[in-house]
Every structure is written in C-alpha cells, then in structure tokens.
C-alpha cells in the first residue's frame, strides 16, 4: 500500500526522479492550461457566450470577489497567484475519484512548495505595495517587542499551511485505505465523497489563508490611510453639518 505519491517512481536518471507527484502535477497543470486555452481561444465580450466561458467567468469572478473582501483593494495584482493556488489544489483534490490517480497535494513536497511560495509571496507583495521600509515597519507593530514573535509566526504559519493540507489529503487517502480493509463495500464510497468535500474545503482554506497573510502584510498602510480617510470624512461631515 502506497501512502505517498513520492514513493511511486516512474523514471529516474541521476538525481532527476520523475515520481507520481511531479507527473500528476503536470497532469493537473495540463488540464487547467488546456481548458483555459480552449475556452479563452474565442472569448466573447458580447452578451452571448459559451457555457465554458460562463463557468470560468463565474469561478474567476468568485475568486476576485473573495480576494477583494479580504485584501480590500483591487484584486488584479493578487488574482493570478491566489487564484492559481485555489484552482490547482481544488482540481488536484477533485481528481481523487479517478482510479490510479494520486493527488499531488498528498505529498508534503507539493504542499511545502506551495507554502514556500506563499512564504515568499507575502514579503514580495508587501514590499511592492508599501516599499521596503513600510513593509519592515509592520514587524515592529504594535511594539518592537513583538518582532521575534512575528518572525516566528511567519515560519510557523508557513509550516502549518503545508502540513495542514498535506495531513488532510493524506488522511483522506489513508482513511480510504483503512476502510477498504475493514468494510470494502459502499462505506469507502461515502468516505471518498467526504474526502472530496474536505479536499475542496482545504483548497479554499489554503487560498484564503494565503490571501489573509498577503493582505495583512500589504494592508497595514492602507488601513492607516483608511482610518485617516474616515477621520477626514467625519470631520468634513461635521463641518458640513455646522
């Protein structure tokens, strides 16, 4: 019984090993890119469109909406990264019902890679949004004493991201395997459905958490600005009332 897709190795040359994780990652990537190309090949900006375009527009609009709610600014710059996180994890988990498929998210290397991407994306977005000084100042708030804890939290939450997704997907696979031994009929099907649901939930959680980390890093200043704006607005209102 194989637990991790890493241990399934299709091809090996020197240090290059093509295991199931990489292969199925490619499969998922291929499906996503293919669908995208096929659908966006003849996009229509009119009022009549294909069902696929409508579907993708719905998904993209939903993601944009979620990002907008968390970051509270134009989601344009965050959409590719966060959207891809969600779509990749979601499709990886969704394909679990296909026989002989091993979700790449079941590998700690995949989830780890995604978490590392988030880890680096947070300062990159933060600095691009607020500048180096503005981003680093964020570690000294509310007091400089908090600085070490904030640094630790950066690492710990990255680790938590990776392990959470990995553990859940792995547990789903393991439960299926265990139940297969105990009650081979029907019960595993129900558990499979459950694990599909859990997989979607964790795709959502992963993307949302990434959005929250990125948003908190790039939003600090905009919150100050927002507050200032609100103060100004109330002052203006008072003046107008007077």
């Amino acid at each position: 019984m194989t637990i991790s897709p890493d241990s399934i190795i299709y091809w090996e040359w020197k240090f290059i090993t093509l295991n199931a994780t990489i292969v199925f990652t490619w499969v998922v990537m291929a499906i996503l890119v293919l669908i995208s190309i096929l659908v966006t090949r003849n996009l229509k900006s009119g009022f009549k469109m294909s069902r696929w375009q409508s579907f993708l527009e719905t998904v993209v609009e939903y993601i944009r909406d979620q990002i907008r709610q968390i970051v509270r600014e134009d989601p344009k710059r965050y959409l590719p990264f966060l959207g891809t996180l969600f779509m990749f994890i979601s499709l990886s988990n969704l394909l679990a019902f296909v026989p002989e498929y091993h979700p790449p998210t079941g590998s700690i290397y995949t989830t780890g890679a995604l978490a590392i991407c988030v880890f680096f994306a947070v300062p990159i977005f933060g600095i691009s949004r607020r500048g180096v000084g503005g981003y680093l100042k964020h570690y000294l708030k509310p007091t400089p004493i908090m600085f070490p804890f904030l640094v630790i939290s950066e690492f710990s939450r990255t680790l938590a991201l990776a392990v959470r997704l990995f553990g859940n997907v792995l547990s789903g696979t393991m439960i299926a395997a265990v139940l297969l031994a105990v009650a081979p009929l029907f019960v595993p099907v129900v558990m499979q459905v459950l694990s599909l649901l859990i997989g979607q939930i964790h795709a959502y959680i992963f993307a949302i958490l990434a959005a929250v980390y990125i948003g908190s890093a790039s939003r600090a200043r905009s919150e100050e600005e927002h507050q200032n704006d609100e103060n100004n607005q109330t002052e203006n209102k008072d003046e107008e009332d007077n």
């Binding site: 527009e57 990264f81 890679a113």
Partner: protein, 285 residues
C-alpha cells in the same frame, strides 16, 4: 526521512509555471473580456440615456414648435378677420357715400329742373300778366285817361326836390329853352295848351316845347331836356310790380327747397346747398 529537494524545487517551479500560464491564458483574458463587457454595457446604457434625453429634447422642441404654430395660426386668422371687417366697413362706407352722391346728384338735377321749370313758368306768367295789363291799358288809353295821365305827370314836378328842379332848370336853360315832350298818345290841342302852360309855369326857362309821339313809352308821358328826363309811365309801375313778383317767387322757391330738405336732412353736405337759395332772398331783404 531524507528531504527530496528535487521534488520540492520541481513543485515550486511547476507551480510558478502554472501561475504564469494561467495568468496568461486564463485570468488576463477572462478579466479583460469581463471588463470589456462591462464597458459595453455601461456605454450602451449611457447611449440609451443620451438617446432618451435627446428624444426628450426633440419632443419638447416639437411641442414648442407646435404651440408656436398654433399661436401663429390663430393670429393669422384673427388678422384676416380684422382685415375682412375693416374691408367690409370700408366698402359699406364707400357704397353709402356713392349712394349719397347719387342721391345728391339726382336731387340737384331735380332741383335744377324744378327751378328751371319754375323760372320758365314764372317768366311766362309775368310776361302774360303784363302783356295783358299793358294791352288793357293801351286799349283804355282814352282822352280822359290822357287827362289824368298828364295830371299825374305834372304832379311829378311838384314831387321833385329843389335840387333836382334846379338841375332840370339848368339843363333846360342849357338847351336854349328847347324841351321835348314824348307821349304814347296824341295829345289834343286843348290839352296841349294846358300842358304847355303848366310846364312853362313849373319851369320858367322853357320857350319852345316839341310834342312827339313815341310808341316805346307804351302808356305814359315824358319830358326830355338835354339828357334830363322826367317821366310818368305805367310801365314803371308794372316793372316795379314785376320786380316784386320775381322776388316773391324766389323767396317762395327758397322756402320750398328748405321745407323739402329738412325732413331727411341727415347729411352735412347739404347745408351749403340749403343756404345757397336763401342768400338772394336775404340780400334782397
């Protein structure tokens, strides 16, 4: 457990590639198309809004124009009515004037005719009357009447004023006492003597009297001396009578005209006409 660095890095790279690919093939295009659609919708809405306002404007414009036209039409109609009323009045006035003119012309001609008839009648009557009277007097001019006439003639001298008498006397003396007595009848010898005596008594300068018969005198007797003439003639009376008769006739006519015009004397043009016939009578008085 050894860390499989290759798999980790490969997954990172894989993910980044996927991000790039999806950004390129999915997000950019989808978002672009959605933005375009949104733009299109908003532009169409704006267009519709514009069209609506334009239509509203046009409608208002047309309504205004319609109102204006209606107002103009009413104005034109009222103008035309006024013009027609004016024209009607003018025409009525003109025709009235024309009728009045015709009436006046007719009246004038009628008047003229009447007066000419009247004149003819009057003249003829007067002539007839005087013809008859003269005839009668001529016929009656017998001896006795002649006596009377001569008496009347002599009376004339006593009626004369001293100045006239002196003038007559000087003219008689200027003619070397030669005077002429004209009569319409033949004076008999006895009467002639008496007349001569009487004349010589009245005018002491008279030496010779030449008696002559003159039919022009009709019925009378006259003394002529160097341009001076003393005369008694029935014609004098008759002429005086005729003058008076004529005057009376004119007056009568004027009264008649006045009486005729007064009842329908509504026109101002008549007044001068009315006064015209009166004038001679007034001046005569």
């Amino acid at each position: 457990m050894q860390i499989d660095w290759f798999t980790l890095i490969a997954q990172i790279v894989n993910f980044l590639i996927l991000v790039w690919l999806l950004k390129h093939f999915l997000y950019d295009r989808i978002v672009d198309s959605m933005d375009k659609r949104r733009e299109k919708i908003s532009s169409r809405l704006k267009e519709a809004d514009d069209k609506k306002t334009e239509a509203e404007k046009l409608r208002e414009e047309y309504e205004n124009k319609k109102k204006e036209l209606e107002g103009k039409r009413e104005e034109i109609i009222s103008d035309a009515k006024e013009e027609a009323e004016k024209r009607k009045k003018q025409m009525l006035h003109e025709s009235r004037e024309e009728i009045e003119q015709l009436r006046q012309d007719w009246q004038k001609s009628l008047e003229h005719e009447k007066s000419s008839i009247l004149n003819t009648l009057r003249d003829r009557t007067a002539r007839q009357v005087f013809e008859i009277s003269r005839q009668v007097l001529d016929d009656l001019a017998g001896a006795e009447l002649q006596e009377q006439m001569i008496d009347r003639f002599l009376e004339r001298f006593s009626e004369l004023s001293q100045k006239q008498l002196d003038k007559l006397k000087s003219s008689v003396s200027g003619n070397k006492g030669q005077v002429q007595v004209l009569s319409s009848f033949e004076i008999s010898g006895k009467t002639k003597e008496k007349l001569t005596r009487a004349l010589k008594d009245k005018l002491d300068g008279i030496r010779d009297i030449d008696y002559e018969e003159d039919s022009d005198l009709r019925c009378g007797i006259a003394l002529v001396a160097e341009g001076q003439r003393i005369e008694w003639n029935i014609d004098d009376y008759l002429e005086g009578l005729e003058e008076e008769f004529k005057e009376r006739m004119v007056e009568l006519k004027a009264e008649k005209v006045k009486g005729q015009d007064k009842p329908d004397g509504e026109d101002d043009n008549k007044k001068p006409e009315e006064q015209e016939p009166e004038k001679p009578s007034q001046s005569d008085k």
